[in-house]
Assembly symmetry: D2
Homo-oligomer: 346 residues x 4
């Protein structure tokens, strides 16, 4: 065990976000993974039996969340289905353990909104006040002292990073249009007819039209930049494993120079290690960020029509990498620690 | 040879649209393929050497376009790169041969627009008047007597079918947003760094932002429905072989019932064999039309925001199938002749 | 209904082989589909709700197998999981209805072998004698009068067509090596962790090493050509939807001319509509047979080492297409009826 | 620049092996990249213009190989097409610079064999004696003092690691059968009709049957383990970007226990950081090694038939990772330096 390292528990190692989290944290110089848990049917198995690619790094045994929560750690990452983490949050927080939750349970300030979109009453609405939306590029200061971090959804991460600086300037009309495309890993590892290979391969489709739960999450944060913000958000399933691309259509209130747009973004993100204005005449490919914690932004204007392109790896900046970024902020480590991977290409 | 069949020449058998055309016409009960041509390096080869999947149906030898044009046929399909067909059009038309051109050379009425977007002056602007934009759902009557048919682009086919009926009603604000996604076969068979497997696979990207040549094609036809029509059109390359999906965002001038929207489409397309209002609470997958000449339309409204989804197979309804549909109209055959394929699924 | 057509029932419309069967039979000029059935949860739904690509051709309602078996038909296709068809076979056959079973229930002559590999005793061993292995290229005569046809497995179809003519000549040593690769549709439509998109995509693996149930099926038939036949058969899962390629390694007892090998195959298959010696210096791509009922064979020899390549579409010649081929033989129709599709390419 | 680091030149940054090499070496704690070169059309461009995924890590400018060779470095990696490196080798070696060549130019001891398979006479046969075949698991001691390292081909790496220990035991009959499958990145980045997306996607094919240049490379090394070694090697192109899987079929001279087989491998590779006996009842998926320098081995026996499965990432252990492993050995660094990446999964 690393000396004076932060002690970490990971709940939900059996899913994709859990396993990517484990990957990143394994090599963290200041973190020690104390336990990993998963669903009852996985308890007692080794990690390598769930994810053989870990091999000798996967010798650790999966325990139950119940027994895990008896152990002493400094922080718990919950990579669990929505509605589960809130059941354990109180117990975790009471013991002074920080909670970084990758589900939607702590993303909304308003429990009514949670109830509306997730179909159940929030079980610990009092904790919502103590939780911070874990998008460091916007809420870094609040994250530093948060007891609970509601790690953002994948689509909202790409959308908010793309729109927040612009909306602060009050120069766009609403609604903005967010046409989002994602690889299949966004749907997780639980099998269903909709995500088997033969149904996803060689086809593309929109889904969740006007009903996707990331829509209110996006709007809630955008309204902090501009209270009148409205967005039409339509996600699409693309036959690839990882990657999100969002093409965002804005109508400018008045024509302004493209350079001015660029300088808004350059200024806003000038010190950000993970947001990169993609310096090219053509837009980025999602693959350029595969395996990285980066968000690539690109923009182009014609008349009053502005198009913004935003690319992330849904499992890294859109989930587990961002969770580690939040962990780094929370515990005072350099924000890039363990997050400097280059893209795997081709 | 079939008795009193229409005699057909196919120029450009070496590309994807040419080969799909050949596939469809092979089984046409009233058409006889008299010659196929391709680029000089293919001349003298058999079709099966270019496309081995044809095997015993590919024994025919490829000839040069020059020698082909000496032969007697009733119609020529040109599945050639832009700028080539217009060089031969005059010669073809003069001999009383109908021309169905799959390139962009005869899609615009205005030679200036062609010049602006394709970078060269049109070589036979006089023929543009004799040419008809080959979208049967809108221009069937004109197609019947056309000497030249400018077969529509793949993206415009999906976009115009989706928008034309609505625009006739003058109920939407402009611009409309057309976010289009296409499989890689849209880029043809000529190798380039951008279309090799490892560059396309597992990645998605927008391209031709504000510069794609299908944008003016779409706008020209939409303006026939509503002279004030404007569209923002952004295409994306998706890691799949075939299929186009367009998600189209419209802002309604005033709220109207969703049923009213449906009835506009149902009325407009009630007799169309190839346009299908997709009867489902969720949008179609591109794969549902794979290998077919169908266009699936789906729509949903929330407040004043209307989303229309349009799916086609870019090589069939978006190119060669539509060309055969035009052929059927031109020669008085039932429009579905040789175009009744069901989708290949999964 | 077509006049004096053969009346057909299809059991198992909810899976891939059932739906492909439906596709092919829909257009059969001498067959009328009288009923389609599926599992209880599908009963009462329309086919288009299970497979939206059928759309207006999918208006027929799915009924339960129990009620279906009360109806009058001439033939039943069972595209059901192994162990189910044998429960209904007696009832079907007693009524004089022909049974074409796509499962493994009627492929073995020896009920002991079935029991060993499928883990349950055969419930109607007496019917095995009345059943014929439905590989027309070898057993056409027996098929003509069969009461029950055990439609071959996908891997065995490709392997036996490739090896049978050669083994009859007694010129190869044993074991032969069959390295088989299949797209994911071979595993059917039931979701499991092993067949979700993210687990199959971008990876390849062998499976069922020395334990795959198609191994004894292959050996049983090969032993009819040469009683000493032995084969090592290893299947692999490939990230594609359809297609099987088998690379078969034979060691010749004595060197013979490659021409001699070719003439063995040419002679054996000279009248076969669906077996094609692939005439090329390089082997075929699985995609050349996509959507077709063809088997492409290719071979090359170096010294005593002979390599045979065999390609089929696992859902057509490897399942539903072959079932229709058997149907055509059984009812005296031309064998190619409804099976003349060209490959979808690209 | 790192203090007292090894100074590195990379020739061929425009291809996949060159770019992966750059990726790995960027983070090497004891190496400094002094120059990168590429073909004339790339000279003057920044790396990020060839591979945008490098972004801020790709600011370095590409220079010509001619000017690069004037600069002072300790080692040159040549990730160039076959036949090019041998033109520059003498010049490089004369100056005391170590050469790690990723092409085939220095893999054969016998210039006649090179000439036979690569079609040209070797231009510096004298240097072949000074070169070592860079497979550390077999030739580590020779690599330590080599002036030139002929970095192995991707297929030979997987095959030799799988077979060498077994062949040393003289327990298998010949020929062994190596059925190899590779993703498309093995063919490099140069566009050709055979490697465009639509031709590779959704299809699988064998190629280079009895003619692939890796066959003699494999046999030459296997003969060092057993002089009577013979192998039939057939590669296949699989629709995925990265990964090689080889299914190897051996016939044992006499039956022996499976445990004995395992202990041969465990003993041979017990200290190897990159060879892993895959501990599972089912074989590995290629994806388990994606992005890593690992080779996963798995084996199973039935009677005298032994099947060995070997998986690598063709661009890492099969090319650039192994080159860095050789670099580490050459310069006395820990062999795993900069090569500890975990697999990207899913």
């Amino acid at each position: 065990m690393k000396k004076s390292a932060v002690k970490i528990g990971i709940a939900g190692i059996g899913g994709y976000t859990g396993s990517v989290l484990y990957s990143i944290l394994l090599n963290h110089p200041h973190g020690d993974i104390v336990w990993v848990s998963s669903e009852p049917s996985h308890v007692g198995k080794k990690i390598k039996h769930l994810f053989p690619h870990f091999m000798e790094k996967g010798e650790r045994e999966v325990i139950s969340l119940e027994s895990a929560l008896e152990m002493e750690v400094d922080v718990v990452f919950t990579a669990l289905p929505h509605k589960i983490p809130m059941k354990y949050a109180e117990k975790i927080v009471k013991r002074g353990i920080r909670l970084i939750d990758l589900s939607a349970d702590f993303r909304f300030k308003d429990p009514k909104k949670y109830e509306k979109w997730y179909g159940v009453a929030h079980s610990c609405p009092g904790l919502l006040e103590k939780s911070v939306y874990g998008l460091p590029e916007i809420f870094r200061d609040e994250i530093r002292n948060a007891e609970i971090i509601g790690n953002p959804g994948c689509y909202p991460t790409a959308a908010i990073i793309a729109l927040y600086p612009l909306l602060k300037e009050r120069i766009v009309e609403f609604p903005v249009i967010i046409d989002a495309k994602s690889g299949a890993s966004g749907a997780g590892r639980a099998p269903s007819e909709g995500n088997i290979y033969c149904e996803v391969n060689e086809g593309l489709k929109p889904y969740g039209v006007f009903t996707h739960r990331h829509a209110p999450e996006i709007e809630e944060v955008l309204k902090m930049a501009d209270t009148s913000a409205e967005a039409v958000f339509i996600p699409h399933l693309v036959p690839m494993t990882r990657g999100i691309e969002e093409t965002i259509y804005c109508r400018l209130k008045e024509e302004i120079e493209e350079d001015k747009i660029f300088s808004i973004y350059n200024e806003f993100y000038k010190d950000e290690p993970f947001v990169q204005i993609f310096d090219s005449s053509t837009p980025p490919l999602t693959k350029y960020v595969l395996g990285t914690n980066k968000c690539f932004l690109w923009m182009k204007k014609e008349g009053k029509n502005l198009v913004i392109v935003s690319c992330i790896d849904n499992l890294v900046k859109g989930a587990s990498g961002q969770a580690v970024q939040n962990f780094n902020i929370l515990f005072g480590f350099s924000e890039e620690t363990s997050l400097t991977q280059l893209a795997i290409y081709p």
